[in-house]
Symmetry: C2
Subunit: 288 residues, 2 copies
């Protein structure tokens, strides 16, 4: 697994993502002290009681002081602001990393703030549940899941290896790619499906007319398909805006695919519909 040991880990935002990371590394015996930094006192107390953190503070400066690794696990829209407050107080030689679901915009905002003597390894663990908060954190969240790291030209190899080892110790398969590729991939496999799910629920709710809520008839299939439309609106607003360029591109690709289906239905072109559905089925079956 790993030869690294982190005497002090600071986790900013002790929710599902940050808390589970801390728990996984504790379980792996790879961290000494974990300091949790956040705003909500009740959540931090829960984290302390559950053993997610060994201490907590509301002060970013205080929390990151002396830490070897600082993990930013706050909402994607807040990452740059938090980084700006954290960086001046970080220990020389320490490593900053994050778990934001969008990378290019976040990196653009954080890189100019960096100091010569600290490293930044941008990351994104592709995991999560509908739950949130420290109470929802668990050590095995990342087991068998992918973690994407997106180093830039400024990231040194040793820092990358360190963060990579930590995620591997948490049970993740680590994939390294450019921030741009990350954002394109995630726009396709995650951000677009969420937009589609929200729009689908909206459409089906609207298409019944005034006195008829078609959603009342929905069965298991619809509920499963739209599960992700129950995701946190704030988080998805932030992701949609942060990854705007890549997301608009795949949205357009999707509009074209849907227009093709619609045209074939309209023209009664059964052969084309069959081919389209079969191709999608084969592609989908190939990823299972």
């Amino acid at each position: 697994m790993s030869d690294f040991f982190i005497p002090k880990l600071a986790v900013v935002g002790v929710g599902l993502i940050g808390g589970s990371f801390a728990l996984a590394l504790k379980e792996a015996g790879l961290v000494g002290e974990v300091v949790g930094i956040g705003r909500g006192r009740a959540n931090l107390e829960t984290a302390l009681k559950k053993g997610v953190v060994d201490a907590f503070t509301h002060s970013l400066a205080e929390g990151v002081a002396g830490a070897d690794v600082v993990f930013l696990a706050t909402p994607v829209q807040t990452l740059a602001k938090v980084a700006a407050e954290v960086i001046p107080h970080m220990k020389p030689g320490s490593v900053l990393t994050d778990g934001g679901s969008v990378k290019a915009e976040v990196i653009c905002a954080i890189e100019p703030l960096l100091r010569e003597d600290i490293q930044f390894v941008p990351g994104h663990p592709v995991a999560g549940t509908e739950q949130s908060g420290a109470a929802a954190a668990f050590a095995s969240l990342y087991r068998g899941r992918r973690c994407i790291l997106t180093p830039t030209s400024r990231t040194d190899g040793q820092a990358l290896e360190l963060i990579k080892s930590l995620w591997q110790a948490a049970g993740s398969e680590v994939v390294v790619m450019t921030p741009e590729k990350h954002d394109r991939v995630l726009a396709g496999i995650s951000h677009l499906p969420h937009m589609v799910a929200y729009a689908l629920v909206d459409a089906v709710a609207n298409c019944g007319g005034e006195n008829e809520n078609i959603l009342n008839y929905s069965a298991g299939g619809f509920r499963d398909f739209t599960r992700i439309a129950s995701s946190d609106p704030t988080m998805w607003r932030d992701i949609a805006l942060s990854n705007r360029v890549a997301l608009l591109e795949v949205l357009e690709t999707f509009e074209h695919s849907l227009a093709e289906v619609k045209r074939d239905i309209c023209q009664g072109n059964g052969e084309a519909l069959y081919d389209f559905f079969l191709r999608s089925k084969q592609r989908r079956d190939a990823i299972v």
Copy 2:
């Protein structure tokens, strides 16, 4: 439960739908003999071995002779053709019913073929799995699921009550509505989601460019969301074409919803996005 007893039930198309209906009624002690009618010998032999049917034949005329209830459970596109062959051989006073996922078009095609002395109760059990064939049939498939019956002005109340009782005995909650409403509701909660899922897999496969299959990065969320894109292409081609009018209408409603999301992303209108996502989340949470 029910005071009805069906001495002889004929099931045309002994697959998941037809086979499970037979098994459920047998388990409820509501049928005497079940005759299965189909083309594939191996499938019919499986049905016989599993006790789904007590006898089988390839001949529609022979199979439905003397039957009190005839259940058509073949693909939606074939229903009218099968009905045309079956009706001349049905016993006076017997009842024809079906399980087709689209109703208005099927009824339009079958009603003119009916005889004075037989009744037709169009139906649609909203249930299914990705499996098919008699081997996949099981008695509890319909338990807790909805069955929609769509009688027309020609359907008499007694025949409707009989078929209703059978589905209730199979464990279903029976809902009665017009064929047009059925098709509108199903277009929204089932047909549209399938079109969207097929289009989504297509789009994500296409948006990576030539050398990059973004689908390879898909995680659990994407796989769950696109599960229905693994459905049978033939069946969905047929449904899409049979319910063309209602489906095109909801497709358009969906395009508008998606265009709204896209416009808000494009304009960076976070407040509107948040409101949209929240409204969809609340609507979706309300149906769970």
